[in-house]
């Protein structure tokens, strides 16, 4: 269960004078979904390309299920399912053919390939479109095809680059369920995404990547515990009217409390502070309809790290 699915140590890769990945050290557990979080151009895709055995690192070590993808790419490829961020589908092939062909390239027999393709198409919700050419697919449908393609050889390690982009809300929920199930089956899932609220609901661990380097766990912890903003909404009045009683109850200066549409925004340093504030508001008889962190932990940490950078 705890055997590491992906281990990267001191990985570095540059393209000419562009240092895409400077220093990445990460570990993704088997049986867990690990999120790879970072701003645009932070090296997420380059890192995934190296993990997928397409790109050789300039320095550092990578182990995929214990295998070095540089010295033994075939063994690493058999273990890894990679879903690229670019939607590359053979335009005139149907979804079913795409999956069967990919399975054949993984050395899977004709009959197994066909059966596997049918199962995967249902799993990602492309069953009704199985025999339509990929050319007519929408972005979200291509995304699902890409996910199915990454799964054809039943890989133990999954590398998903922005799998949720272009998916509708229903499909995102299905994706989340699928990822949880894949992790529950003991696979290692590494997923990169910009949609942090999405990621928040599915990942067990998170790795933060800033300017090509992984952020140390201490810095992440520090960022995560820095003060966060809560949204407060009262049931019986709009935000402008709510500011004064909330400020009085919490002992704050009403003029300094920001208002965002229907909500009053109040910052707390710790979760305990927030909890006692809520108790105070209720004790004061205010009809609290909403009391929620304005940003998720991931987003909060991400923005904090981002802010620290600039």
């Amino acid at each position: 269960m705890d055997s590491p699915g992906i281990v990267a140590t001191g990985v570095r890769r540059s393209f000419g004078d562009v240092h895409a990945v400077r220093d990445v050290t990460l570990e993704a557990r088997a049986g867990a979904v690990t999120g790879l979080v970072g701003p645009n151009g932070s090296g997420k895709t380059t890192l995934l390309l190296m993990l997928a055995s397409l790109l050789a690192p300039d320095a550092g070590e990578i182990r995929i299920g214990g295998v070095d993808p540089i010295s033994d790419p075939a063994a690493a490829r058999a273990a890894v399912g990679w879903m690229p961020d670019a939607l590359g589908a053979w335009p005139s092939l149907t979804a079913r053919e795409t999956l069967v062909m990919t399975a054949r390239l993984y050395g899977i027999g004709r009959d197994d390939a066909a059966a596997g393709a049918a199962r995967l198409l249902d799993e990602v919700g492309l069953g009704p479109l199985a025999d339509r050419p990929a050319r007519v697919f929408s972005r979200g449908q291509k995304q699902r095809l890409g996910l199915a393609r990454a799964l054809v050889h039943d890989p133990r390690v999954l590398l998903l680059d922005e799998p949720a982009s272009g998916l509708d809300p229903q499909a995102r929920i299905e994706l989340r369920t699928l990822l949880r199930r894949l992790a529950a089956e003991g696979r290692t899932v590494l997923i990169s995404s910009h949609v942090l609220s999405e990621l928040e609901e599915v990942v067990d661990d998170a790795v933060f990547l800033v300017e090509g380097a992984t952020v140390s766990s201490e810095r992440v912890a520090a960022a995560a515990t820095r003060q966060r903003t809560w949204r407060i909404r009262l049931a019986d009045r709009d935000a402008r009217a709510a500011v004064v009683p909330i400020a009085q109850t919490l002992g704050l200066d009403a003029a300094l409390i920001p208002i965002d549409r229907r909500d009053v925004l109040v910052a707390f340093v710790t979760d305990n502070d927030a909890a006692s504030a809520l108790a105070a508001l209720i004790a004061a008889g205010l009809p609290v309809a909403e009391f929620a962190a304005a940003t998720g932990i991931l987003e909060h940490t991400f923005l904090d790290l981002e802010g620290g950078r600039s």
Binding site: F15, M50, A52, L54, A56, W82, L93, R104
Partner: protein, 362 residues
């Protein structure tokens, strides 16, 4: 190297090809061109009787020409085009090796080129029915056509792996094909005439008076051939430059059209003339091996030089006394294609250490 995976790569390419309409349009246009060519060839070789060999050779030549013209477009973007469409990397992460990907695409491009030869088959059969085509000619010419198609396909696929931009690699493939088909001819012509030798022509004529009448010692009007009686002028010597094609004839051996002609056995008529295009081109190219005469003499006062002189050799004689070179040219082409494929393999293999400038792997 795994045959199943290699063939899957080839099938991927071919499946996509056969599902595009433009492909069938191209084949249809080619068929129309062949209808016209075959009809005109029958007219120019003098009707149905005994024109089979000529028509057959013309159809094979037009097919080769078309393959050379079309193949670079079909194969010259197979790898970098896939990279641009983001369909290359999903194949590279499978168990398919770089060699399998390259060779699979090469096989697919070859088969695609052969589809044109397939369209030409009915016309070849018609020509064969007209008679006069030897089985050995059919076998050799078709074999060379198939091999040439493969070489062009290999060069196109390789260049698409070496160069990053599809448009550029297609253009370079065309340039390589042009260098082989036209460049060898231009090089042959230009270098051959540039390295010309000095040739000397000596001549002595019977003397004539101011009215143009012959001068004879005995005062008669005509004494031509009567050496005793003739008055001869002084010897005149003129020099001129003679192109030395015999120094550069080998350049033509890398030309696909020359290879096709040179490799195909020739059937001669009773006058020693070939009965098809292959033979005429072969004898023309082979005659370049003969060194040109650098001295010529004409003497009115020597009846021995009056005679009919040496007959210029017939094509049959030329071909008999010169050496074939097609296998050298074909060998050079095969080595070129193999080297380019190997270079493409270096540029495409994964995990990639260096990337061609300006490309992303995915």
């Amino acid at each position: 190297m795994n045959g199943g995976r290699l063939w899957t790569i080839a099938r991927l390419e071919l499946l996509q090809r056969v599902r595009t309409v433009s492909w069938y349009v191209l084949l249809g246009v080619f068929a129309l061109v062949l209808i016209g060519v075959t009809g005109l060839a029958f007219l120019s070789f003098g009707g149905w009787e005994q024109s089979g060999a000529g028509v057959y050779s013309v159809v094979v030549y037009v097919t080769l020409l078309l393959v050379l013209l079309v193949s670079p477009t079909l194969s010259g973007n197979s790898i970098n085009g896939d990279r641009d469409a983001a369909t290359l990397a999903p194949v590279q992460v499978t168990l398919a090796t770089t060699g399998e990907i390259l060779l699979g695409k090469f096989v697919a491009a070859w088969i695609t080129g052969l589809a044109f030869a397939l369209v030409a088959v009915p016309f070849l059969i018609v020509a064969t029915f007209a008679g006069g085509v030897l089985p050995w000619t059919i076998l050799t010419s078709l074999a060379i056509l198939v091999i040439e198609t493969g070489i062009i396909a290999a060069i196109g696929v390789a260049l698409s792996g070496i160069l990053a931009r599809p448009l550029f690699s297609v253009a370079v493939t065309y340039l390589v094909v042009a260098a082989l088909a036209v460049g060898t001819l231009i090089g042959f012509g230009l270098i051959g005439s540039a390295v010309s030798s000095e040739a000397v022509s000596k001549s002595r004529y019977a003397a004539t008076d101011a009215y143009g009448n012959m001068e004879c010692r005995d005062g008669s009007d005509s004494c031509y051939g009567d050496v005793e009686n003739m008055v001869c002028d002084d010897w005149q010597t003129t020099t001129y430059r003679m192109p030395r094609y015999d120094y550069v004839w080998w350049m033509l051996s890398a030309n696909p059209f020359v290879i096709l002609a040179d490799a195909t056995p020739t059937n001669f008529d009773t006058y020693g003339n070939p009965d098809d295009m292959f033979g005429w081109i072969k004898s023309g190219v082979r005659s370049a091996q003969l060194s040109p005469p650098l001295e010529s003499t004409w003497d009115d006062c020597d009846p021995a030089s009056y005679g009919p002189g040496e007959d210029s050799p017939t094509p049959e004689q030329i071909i008999a006394e010169t050496v074939p070179s097609w296998f050298v040219g074909l060998g050079v082409q095969v080595v070129l294609a193999a080297l380019l494929l190997w270079w493409a393999w270096l540029r495409t293999r994964t995990p990639a250490r260096t990337l061609p400038p300006g490309t992303r792997i995915a």
